[in-house]
Amino acid sequence: MALLETKNLGISFGGLRAVNAFDISVEKGQLYGLIGPNGAGKTTIFNLLTGVYQPDEGAILLDGVNLTGKKTIDICKAGIARTFQNIRLFGDMTVLDNVKVGLHNHYTYSTLEGILRFPRYHKVEKEMNEKAMELLKVFGLEEYADYKAENLPYGQQRKLEIARAMATAPKLLLLDEPAAGMNPNETKELMDMIGFVRDHFDMTILLIEHDMKLVSGICEKLTVLNFGEVLAQGDTQDVLSNPEVITAYLGS
């Protein structure tokens, strides 16, 4: 059974049909790419999957559980984590605290226990620090733990965003243009890291990307979107050699 499945997903904004009859099926452990020209509706699909928008019709299933109409925080708890096209970190908080916010729902103690510093506070905080440092180490950010997130270099901010998403212990990771604004070297490094995250955490990843080198380099399957509709779907090499796809990207 597929980990993520959508059936006939659709949404309109006023008269604009942003996404129409979108079907996708992502298997567990897959690295799946969602590509398409600007304005094709890729980020809208991410927003539908994470409950930022509610679909007008269709269904979203994660691991057989229907997530349609759920709120963002419930979808996060169900196991979908995401990053954003324009990086959204907690800029004024430290790198470590950013990850610890991601751990919020997995390591708990009450507000009162926190204020009165009960033994449970010390115990859970210690566990949180250890877990967060472990995650930062995986992403090579441990030396920045003390930095304010907004003071990190751009590439590291991207990594931190992924680390924070991974802290929520998701089943499915959505990456929205992870390579945006990166130079070829950083992109190469990012590709390695995405592959590593998949292997290390046994993660399923769905990513939006414009960088064809990255897409053809790591994605196993692709869905191409154009004007809110699926243009092509299948194995990466087949899709990328599809004449319709080439037309959509380069014009006829």
Binding site: T50, V52, T72, I73, C76, K77, A81, R82, F84, R88, L89, F90, G91, D92, M93, T94, L96, D97, N98, K100, V101, G102, H104, N105, Y107, T108, Y109, T111, G114, I115, L116, R117, Y121, V124, E125, M128, N129, M133, E142, E143, A145, D146, R164, A165, A167, T168
Partner: protein, 355 residues
């Protein structure tokens, strides 16, 4: 690395606590050596009140990232609820216990009102909280000015008309006399209690900030959408932070009320201007900087009194100080200069930390 960070926040907190305790010792020494005028001595409890309410507002403005223009209103709720309680049980409960209960009642009443105001408003995005709290502060003041409350053997009477329509028995006790307010509240608060309350407030707020809940609240401030995406319940944590903030403002009100024999809800003490003054403390002390709020609250309350001798030039100098503090805290050039200065000092002491 991890260890260093924990020590750093702890050290920072300790400096804040230490600063308050040191200030308390210095003031006590000055009082015992007779260097403090009676005018300033009368201001000591109001100092504590302003410091506490400034810390409370900083929790809303700096940590939660919402603007509240009604913290004087929460002070007002705390002040009147506790003053009525203390007056009603003036002879029934001994002083210390009574004041302790009064604090709890003031805190609970303000928390409840803060919670009720927060429920509809904190679900919205934008500056709605500022607008609603501004209105709330004015409304609560006007309600109390029109409220008559009394108690006799038949129970509690209240009316919004006048004292006569209370229909009280001869031996009944008037608690709130409309615009004349509450008279005869026991003078339970003093400077020492005020400082203890500041320390307790600091303990609550600083521990809150460095806890799981505090991190959730700050993540909402920094990026609401991202906070939601990692599973933070935005409305819940906003409400928690705002309720705590209102509750602490209520405690400041309790302290204020028990320092006066007559408590009125005047524009001067619980009105819009007071709310703005508290906001000025927070902004000048540095938004999100708890220690800064304390310093700003003390300095800006002290300044007009110290400058009294200059009569007409007093407000002029006050304004200049406001502007100077603003520049020192917020101008990019000043921030850069402070950073460089700090670097030079730490570099001189611990050369290995320079890199």
């Amino acid at each position: 690395m991890k260890k260093i960070k924990i020590n750093k926040t702890m050290k920072n907190d300790m400096i804040t606590y230490g600063m308050v305790i040191l200030a308390y010792i210095v003031v006590q020494l000055l009082i015992s050596s007779g260097h403090v005028s009676s005018l300033i001595r009368g201001l000591l409890v109001p100092f504590c009140t302003y410091v506490i309410v400034a810390i409370a507002l900083n929790l809303t403005v700096g940590i939660l990232g919402e603007l509240s223009l009604g913290h004087a209103g929460f002070m007002c709720v705390g002040a009147f609820s506790s003053a009525v309680f203390s007056l009603a049980y003036k002879d029934a409960i001994p002083g210390g216990l009574r004041f302790f209960l009064a604090i709890l009642i003031g805190a609970a009443a303000a928390a409840l009102v803060g919670f009720l105001v927060g429920i509809p408003v904190l679900r919205l995005r934008g500056d709605y909280l500022a607008i609603v709290t501004l209105a709330f502060g004015e409304i609560i003041k006007n309600i109390i000015n029109a409220l008559y409350l009394g108690v006799d053997s038949n129970g509690i009477h209240f009316t919004m008309k006048d004292a006569l329509s209370l229909n009280m028995e001869e031996d009944g006790l008037m608690l709130i006399k409309g615009a004349q307010g509450v008279t005869g509240t026991p003078n339970d608060s003093n400077f020492t209690i005020g400082v203890v309350l500041i320390l307790i407030t600091l303990f609550i707020v600083l521990n809150f900030i460095h806890s799981r809940t505090g991190r959730a609240v700050m993540s909402i401030r920094d990026n609401r959408i991202a906070a939601e995406s990692v599973g933070i319940n935005v409305t819940k944590y906003k409400l928690i932070a705002f309720t705590i903030s209102a509750s602490i403002a209520g405690v400041a009100g309790v302290l204020y009320a028990h320092n006066l024999s007559t408590l009125n809800a005047l524009p001067k003490n619980f009105g819009y201007n007071m709310s703005i003054l508290i906001l000025v403390f927070v902004v000048l002390g540095g938004i999100g900087n708890i220690r800064g709020s304390i310093i700003a609250a003390v300095l800006l309350t002290l300044l007009p009194e110290v400058l009294r001798g200059l009569s007409d030039y007093r407000m002029l100098i006050y304004a200049i100080v406001l502007i100077a503090m603003m520049i020192f805290n917020w101008s990019p050039n000043a921030i850069f200069f402070r950073k460089r200065l700090k670097q030079r000092i730490t570099a001189g002491r611990k050369p290995e930390k320079e890199a």
